[in-house]
């Protein structure tokens, strides 16, 4: 008994797509200062000229407020459809609060504590195996040794008694949780804030075979997230990077150690997930919890035969960093997809080949911008303003669904696990901003 991938894909599209047949390239008529349209295009600092379609621009047009859980649109009101099968958490721009957003609603925030430029969160489906992710006082699940944990801290939902305070009652106090799972690459993450003392605080995901100190980066005023790589949500200064938090361990034992008796820390949203980098927190109580993948789509006329597309991404993805960021599709078959390849290079993928094969700047976890264009005979790809070109006469199909920050044909592997913003595409290859 089986259901084919194609059939599944069709089902997604049926659910996800509400036709929004908007816009034609012929709508262009005049330009405001710096060459922008007078018919609703926005004069963003991000673009010297406005593109036919813009989404999540620097002005915030169409995005609403951060973590409001309300519908988003293109900058001219184009319908953007959101499909996600579960609730999901949304970081505030400063990374200090989390708001749960219901299924099929967008998660909107900057993902970078130094920025207020709103983008969309697009993440792969993952499961948090750490039970009682906010309440380390639950006996049985969490095992304290020379440590007392109480559910008395104000947590990341700004909720009194929503998070845990753990206090060492002796030297080297620990609070640990044992997970039952096969060895595979997984990531542990948690939010910490110092409450009392100045001593050493450490984390582990291998039952203390190795402890990694984090106290040098702890704050007594702001939540910081212990992660294996800089990632959206804490990017910009609130990530405490401990590479050992991503590893392949059979039955990992995760937790914290407070070296000095009497010292205390607040703990919130502990996570252990099936991902090579941390993604946004997933609340758990008595069971593991799965957050479904995000899928954002817009239906519009095709910018063919020549076109360009661009997007900025805040992500913790590292090599291999294969993510689809702007995918032009027709009936589930993509014709062009602006991607990062397995070496974190910007490229177009036309369903058969990557073209150009490389871009000149490889990405590392952080914020980077990709641009691609197709003149009808030549592809061009850029990352962070560095561009390369290659011959390619493949034509774009004439009717297009555009997937923003993902690819509906590969929902489990395409999202970049981060925040995408500054989307542009246009029939003029010069109108997207590198």
């Amino acid at each position: 008994m089986r259901t084919t991938r194609l059939a599944a894909l069709c089902a997604v599209l049926v659910v996800a797509l509400v036709a929004a047949d908007r816009g034609r390239f012929g709508r262009f008529n005049s330009r405001c200062d710096q060459g922008r349209s007078s018919r609703g295009f926005l004069c963003d600092a991000s673009s010297s000229v406005a593109a036919y379609f813009e989404f999540a621009p620097a002005s915030g047009a169409g995005m609403g407020a951060a973590c409001a859980g309300t519908a988003v649109t293109g900058s001219r009101g184009e319908t953007v459809t959101v499909a996600r099968g579960s609730a999901a958490e949304c970081y505030s721009n400063d990374g200090q609060t989390l708001t749960q957003i219901a299924s099929n609603l967008p998660r909107v925030s900057s993902g970078d504590i130094t920025s207020t430029w709103l983008g969309i969160w697009s993440e792969r489906p993952v499961t948090n195996l750490a039970l009682r992710s906010r309440d380390l006082s639950v006996a049985g699940v969490w095992v304290p040794t020379s440590m007392t944990c109480t559910l008395t801290a104000t947590g990341m939902r700004n909720d009194v008694n929503g998070a845990s305070t753990c206090t060492a009652t002796g030297a080297n106090g620990t609070a640990l949780q044992t997970l039952t799972v096969a060895a595979a690459t997984r990531s542990t993450s948690l939010h910490l804030k110092r409450r009392t003392g100045t001593g050493t605080v450490e984390v582990t995901r291998n039952n203390g075979t190795t402890w990694s100190a984090v106290d040098a980066s702890l704050s007594s005023t702001v939540w910081r997230r212990v992660v294996s790589v800089e990632t959206a949500g804490c990017a910009g200064g609130n990530c405490i990077v401990v590479p050992a938090m991503t590893a392949s361990v059979l039955n990992p034992v995760i937790g914290i150690r407070i070296v000095t008796s009497g010292d205390a820390v607040d703990v919130d949203f502990v996570q252990d997930e099936n991902s090579p980098e941390p993604t946004s927190p997933i609340l758990t109580t008595s069971a593991s919890a799965t957050r479904s993948g995000d899928l954002y789509t817009v239906t519009t006329a095709t910018p063919a035969p020549a076109f360009c597309g661009a997007v900025t991404v805040v992500t913790g993805r590292t090599v291999p960093n294969t993510s689809s960021l702007l995918t032009f599709q027709s009936g589930g078959t993509y014709s062009f997809s602006l991607q990062t390849d397995s070496l974190s290079r910007a490229t177009w993928y036309n369903g058969a080949v990557y073209s150009p094969a490389v871009s000149s700047t490889a990405s590392t976890p952080g914020t980077f911008r990709l641009l691609g264009s197709h003149s009808g005979t030549t592809d061009r790809a850029c990352m962070l303003g560095n561009c390369v070109s290659a011959a390619n006469a493949t034509a774009l199909v004439t009717r297009t669904t555009v997937v923003l920050c993902g690819d509906s044909a590969f929902p489990t592997v395409a999202p970049p696990n981060g925040v995408c913003r500054g989307f542009q595409f246009d029939s003029d290859t010069t109108r997207c901003t590198p």
């Binding site: 008994m1 089986r2 259901t3 084919t4 991938r5 059939a7 599944a8 894909l9 089902a11 997604v12 659910v15 499909a83 996600r84 099968g85 579960s86 609730a87 999901a88 958490e89 749960q100 219901a102 299924s103 792969r124 489906p125 499961t127 195996l129 039970l131 009682r132 639950v138 006996a139 049985g140 699940v141 997970l179 039952t180 799972v181 096969a182 099936n274 997933i282 609340l283 758990t284 109580t285 008595s286 069971a287 593991s288 919890a289 799965t290 957050r291 479904s292 993948g293 044909a409 590969f410 929902p411 489990t412």
Partner: protein, 137 residues
């Protein structure tokens, strides 16, 4: 598989965020099951569980099974314990889910290992089951 069931499974795929994977009734050779992500569903009124698998080619699939991989102690006084690596059995708390293979005691309640983010994991197991036959139609 009937068309109705097809629809149900497709709806489930959306719910799980696992769209693109095939739904199978038998485990392919060398596929790695991920019971920690297993979830409950009803297929045409029959309680089933779907267990994600990683295929040998790196692809994804869902295994349809009848029995779940986890249990929980349903009430404070139920005889249900979690076996420790040292062989002893320990109180794992009320409602907290753990592997059925680690269960000790006759009163453990079979449950799926995972719920969807946003669901009430402490509620009755059947109440949380997605009515996928309705979603799919």
């Amino acid at each position: 598989m009937s068309r109705a069931t097809d629809a149900a499974i497709l709806a489930l795929g959306i719910t799980l965020g696992a769209v693109g994977g095939e739904v199978l009734e038998a485990k392919p050779p060398q596929a790695k099951e991920r019971p920690e992500e297993e979830r409950l569903l009803y297929v045409e009124g029959v309680k089933k569980y779907v267990r994600p698998m990683t295929l040998i080619d790196g692809g994804e699939a869902l295994l349809l099974v009848d029995a779940p991989s986890c249990v929980r102690r349903p009430t404070k006084h139920a005889d249900c314990w979690r076996r420790e690596p040292d062989g002893g059995a320990r109180d794992f708390g009320v409602l907290n889910r753990f592997r059925a293979s680690e269960a000790v005691g006759p009163e453990c309640e079979p449950v799926a290992c995972a719920v969807l983010a946003g669901e009430d994991a402490d509620g009755a197991e059947d109440d949380k089951a997605p009515a996928v036959e309705d979603i799919g139609k």
